[in-house]
């Protein structure tokens, strides 16, 4: 493949040395084009490429010098995108045609002229990432993936837009449609994900690239709308992007002045440009996003030339561009145009084709991406093979991050404890686990929302990921929980071996629940390190004391809510969390010191619920006492007391309801036999949901009101979360 070898030339440093005379000639262009340091050699290879390879090839690989495709084909391609969106929404009679119609030009330029990807392997590591933060406009991306040759979006998929079982759901879903990087729709999540993707790239590039081998080198593009801009999560993430100087993040803001309620002027009159400048972004305004192709191209070129700042390109567009009667109005935002207006739009844009038709010249134009994408990947593979030879250690680490395969035996790094080990808060034990794991899991990175010293999340052997130290692994999120969660989703979905963790007080999951839900839905294995998990935090009072949070996450699909009781259970929780890359985990951890209990184990945690002590036989204890987290100690003590009185007592740790649900009926019966209805649960949280576990004859001890400000021990006593309460309840149900 000629294209392949040309890219080898492009990326191989020795070639640049072969052609010193061309360097000077193109260095000015090169200086504008590249984000990493080796401008001269790159510029040189570009000159070579231009001379040897020819027009189409150059456009695909690095096309910004000049739009070398004929203007006509571009225009036709843009209208193809528009009508694929119009037709799909029309057929579904549901969806959002307005954004794709307005953003088709920037979409075309990104996917046809700018981005590097391999449509036949949407998971190629070094691809440019694209995020449609304004996810409701997903037909834009489906149309682009279709034209680019992704097998995930065939004509039938376009025709089954928003239908049962299709790969083209109503918002972009990474788990349904290869080529979609992250799941968007809830506004603002996507731009925050994009910050995470760009962070991941910057981190890996700094950590693994060598002067002679740039194995990590891609951009992150994002289209976001007015709605994304209004959401606080985007402010949080964009403030961090500016702080971190994520120069390879390029966000195109679809400035169309229309949201669902009409003109954005009714609620959104801030100066977005000025705000982004305040956040440390480079800001460019494309005044004519509807037909100003060269303006868009120039803006992206300029954005790439700014290497120390992320760029916001404000692209002023007309929502529903081309629709004679509905453009520039909210009516085109979220509804099908209707047959009459579809016809009028076809007339208006001179589009004589049947629905879903892709003209041959457009097809042909886009067809090159398949070969080129293969070539890009092959070249990268060759480059990586060379890297692996020269830097086997680094390559092994990077490979683990790329593939998600962890070093064999990694779980042996997890600490274990005996009842004799000195007691400790599970938040401290969590830090021990994190630091142990950081040595064996190359992709473990994370941090806290300004509570590192309370959440105990610092990796002691590493420094801070910052603008000028991006190779480090401690991330400082500031007090930005929602942005933090979404950034971690971006990191997790950048590469399967990333294991991002983030932390705050458990109660403040309320601030980031939008992002946590997207972790669960989009199968992003983020670890949520949530400390101060009950009234046990004491004096900070009810604003800081979670009550309903355990229940609220137990009800959420595809997430493990883990509440470990001690050292072994904290280690077990980390084992589960690290192992399950497609299910996020929340670890609820204590502020207060806890003892290591007899009978707890990593294996037990993996079953979700298990017996820690039992003096009965024949699976028929007089009573079963069930606890989680800091209250397992209380259950255990109550068990001891009752046994002194001659009772047979089983004490069960119920560390994760979801994991227990996954066990066999036999196993469940062995822990909670149907015949034993004398059950008491204790948890310093809402009793909501416990009814199912303790049954109608059992008792659930918990807290069904808000907490209070006082020393922790006092609150436990006043709220009746005590050994005495368990004993009393046990006696009442036996």
């Amino acid at each position: 493949m000629a294209a392949s070898s040309s890219f080898t030339i492009l990326s191989h440093p020795k070639n640049s040395l072969l052609i010193p005379t061309t360097t000077a000639a193109s260095s000015r262009v090169g200086a504008l084009l590249h984000s990493r340091q080796r401008v001269t050699s790159r510029a040189a290879t570009r000159a070579v490429r231009g001379a040897r390879v020819g027009v189409v090839r150059a456009t695909a690989v690095e096309s910004l010098e000049k739009a070398e495709t004929a203007d006509e084909v571009v225009e036709k391609s843009v209208n193809t995108i528009r009508f694929l969106a119009i037709d799909a929404v029309e057929k579904a009679n549901s969806g959002h045609p307005g954004l794709p119609m307005g953003c088709a030009p920037m979409g075309h330029i990104l996917y046809d002229e700018v981005m590097r990807y391999n449509p036949k392997n949407p998971y190629w590591f070094n691809r440019d990432r694209f995020v449609l933060s304004a996810g409701h406009g997903c037909m834009l991306q489906y149309a682009l993936l279709h034209l680019a040759g992704y097998d995930s979006v065939l004509e039938d998929d376009l025709k089954s837009f928003r239908q049962w079982g299709s790969r083209s759901p109503g918002h972009p879903e990474n788990f349904e449609t290869p080529g979609i990087e992250v799941t968007t729709g809830p506004l603002g999540q996507g731009i925050a994900n994009a910050v995470g993707l760009a962070l991941a790239e910057k981190h890996l590039a700094a950590r693994f690239n060598k002067p002679d081998a740039e194995v990590v080198d891609h951009y992150t593009y994002c289209i976001l709308g007015d709605g994304c801009q209004m959401e606080g999560i985007s402010q949080e993430a964009c403030s961090l992007a500016g702080h971190w100087g994520l120069g390879k993040l390029i966000a195109l803001y679809d400035d169309n002045h229309i949201s669902i309620d009409g003109d954005t002027a009714i609620a959104f009159t801030e100066n977005v440009d000025q705000r982004f400048e305040a956040l440390g972004w480079h800001v460019i305004w494309v005044k004519n996003g509807n037909t100003g192709y060269d303006e868009i191209r120039a803006a992206i070129k300029e954005a790439k030339s700014v290497k120390d700042k992320p760029t916001l390109i404000k692209v002023t567009t007309t929502i529903g561009f081309g629709s004679p009667n509905k453009a520039n109005s909210y009516s085109v935002h979220g509804s099908a145009l209707g047959a009459k207006e579809v016809d009028a739009t076809r007339q208006n844009l001179g589009w004589p084709y049947e629905p879903f038709h892709v003209p041959e010249d457009v097809k042909k134009h886009w067809s090159r991406h398949t070969a080129e994408g293969a070539s890009l990947e092959a070249d990268w593979n060759a480059k990586f093979a060379e890297y692996e030879k020269k830097y086997p250690e680094e390559a092994a680490e990077l490979k683990s991050i790329i593939t998600g395969e962890f070093p064999a035996g990694w779980e042996k790094a997890l600490p274990t404890y005996t009842p004799e080990s000195p007691g400790d808060a599970t938040r401290n034990l969590s830090q021990t686990n994190l630091n142990a794991l950081a040595k064996v899991i190359p992709g473990l990175v994370g941090g806290s929302a300004d509570l590192a010293s309370s959440n105990m999340t610092l990796l002691k052997m590493f420094g801070d990921f910052q603008k000028d130290t991006p190779e480090e692994r401690n991330i400082r999120f500031g007090v930005r929980e929602h942005g933090m969660g979404a950034i971690c989703n971006g990191i997790a979905l950048h590469s399967p071996g990333f294991v991002p963790y983030c932390a705050t007080f458990f109660v403040f999951t309320d601030y980031m629940r939008g992002a946590i839900r997207i972790s669960a839905l989009s199968e992003a294995g983020v670890i949520y390190v949530m400390t101060h998990d009950s009234i046990g935090l004491g004096e900070d009072g009810p604003t800081h004391q979670p009550i309903e949070h355990l229940a609220s996450f137990r009800a959420m699909p595809n997430i493990f809510m883990l509440r470990p009781a001690d050292g072994n259970e904290t280690a077990g929780s980390y084992k589960v969390a690290v192992q399950n890359r497609k299910t996020p985990s929340i670890l609820a951890l204590s502020r207060q010191k806890l003892p290591h209990l007899p009978g707890t184990s990593i294996e037990g945690v993996e079953k979700g619920g298990y017996t820690i002590t039992d003096n009965s036989s024949g699976n028929k204890p007089d009573v079963i006492l069930i606890g989680t987290g800091s209250e397992l100690e209380i259950a255990a003590k109550a068990g001891d007391e009752l046994r002194k009185e001659g009772k047979t007592v089983r004490v069960v740790s119920f560390v994760s309801w979801e994991l227990f649900d996954l066990q066999s009926d036999e196993y469940k019966e062995s822990v909670l036999p149907e015949g034993v209805t004398a059950r008491v649960s204790i948890e310093a949280a809402s009793t909501f949901g416990w009814g199912k576990i303790v049954g109608s004859k059992g008792k659930a001890i918990g807290i069904d009101k808000f907490g209070a400000s006082a020393p922790a021990g006092k609150i436990y006593k006043e709220y009746g979360i005590t050994v005495e309460a368990v004993i009393e309840a046990a006696k009442s149900v036996m």
Copy 2:
């Protein structure tokens, strides 16, 4: 009381007419000082007041001309505030001394020189509002309330800071401590509450003030810190504050460069001033917030002179000012100083007093606020009495908002339906209710987060609350759910008769859960109008389909989670929501059309769970079918089918679990008799929690995974939320 009569002069228009000659002399000062139109007459009265009343009086009422208290007393008062905070935190060995030490100067100036309040009636309507958004620094406010003479914070309260049963909890709680306006601590909530308070004032002033009677006229002050600035919620709320031009909102930003993780530079390097300018705020920088009293005074004066924009005063302070070894470090943020450093600080600031001592001259200085506050309120009462005479209709409306007493019989405005009424989506029925209520509840104001036409929340007889039309009652929040919720908390807590409602898709409660929890905790009776409440929304797919949300709110204390099934139940839900001013309500409403079912009623809703149809006798049906919202229809249809087969079936609507829990045991037994274990529930949501209702022998039909993108009917069928499934389950449990 001389002070009292001087204020009468100040506020009574005829006096200004009596003294025309003084007007010109002070009009320039007046122009700078006052935010409303009557500058001339006000300036005139000020001149009179200055001549007649004397120094102390003038300071209290309108003090910005000059700080007329001796510098020494101010300094001493500021140090009193610092040491009350230091001593209280030290005694509790828990708390945050750093902020009060740094913010004592601005705190002193606000409470002693600027704000108008009555310490003996913290609920006086026309008081200036103060919000400590950086709630962890609450000892600042407790110290100020104590000095100002509030009975809620006596010396004993300071000494029992953060202890069980005290009125000085670890973060400010309006429900514990009169004088605290809102509950803060979770960062960013407070500044957003302040936006709500300022909105409330601007709305009421525009709606009720007359050229000859300004009965609504107060400022809203807020102190916020770096943490608040980082939170997205503050960006959302502040963007709206700028958009609305809330000129009487004055936010003092404690710019101390320290957060829990250390120097804010590790995560927060944006240009805050520039950002606020971009948001349409007036921005002032006080460079020396530690000792620059006159700078602070001048800034507040300038802020008051800017009437069309909110003002951010960036006050650069030293956290822990005065502590020789801990100031300007994170160690003073959230821990007691320790005995040694307390001593060193006493030395350093020259403070010879015992812990908790308030020097006599400081006491004396502050003592005037009691008389002055009484006078302010008395004057206002007189003014309002006059207003009531002249404008009885407006006065009645305003009174309803001030007192929270609604017009007798207001609930008769709620619509009722029969099974013959045309079916409709509950979101549409909700709009009918809102529009009916708007006519009888003067304090009903609200809107949607850019989904007014989907949430159906527009009050048709009113326009939009906007900068230049603040008397209107439809609020356009833009896509800012979290800010919206917190703003509504501010409105609700401004005056008991405000009934704010806000709206988005139910799934996006995830974005605003932090604010919803504060509604519940702080007893703010906000109505959350949450539409598109299940997979019934169809094509938008799983990102937009709530699953776990009902359960997550059922687990939250002090909130009514209501899921009405039809017209009568929607009306009943509104009755509950409006009536309960200290418990917020969430209404989960359907996108899809639903029939009006036989047996539903407003009275039924008030009981939370009730029988809608039953063909059994003796409280012994063969089976009980339980549904909520859109699935009650399915339960009812299944009941009809089973009855055709000769079964006795009770169909129960379980519209609100919390309300059902409040009923007597007898009532509960009459609906769900213990003897009938054949129970089937159906709800298009997580089954989490239903175990307690249906019991171990019953069946809960629901959805324990994420939704899907397809037409609603198709998803219902594929997910087994069908009449057939209910019949099958019923047969299996009978």
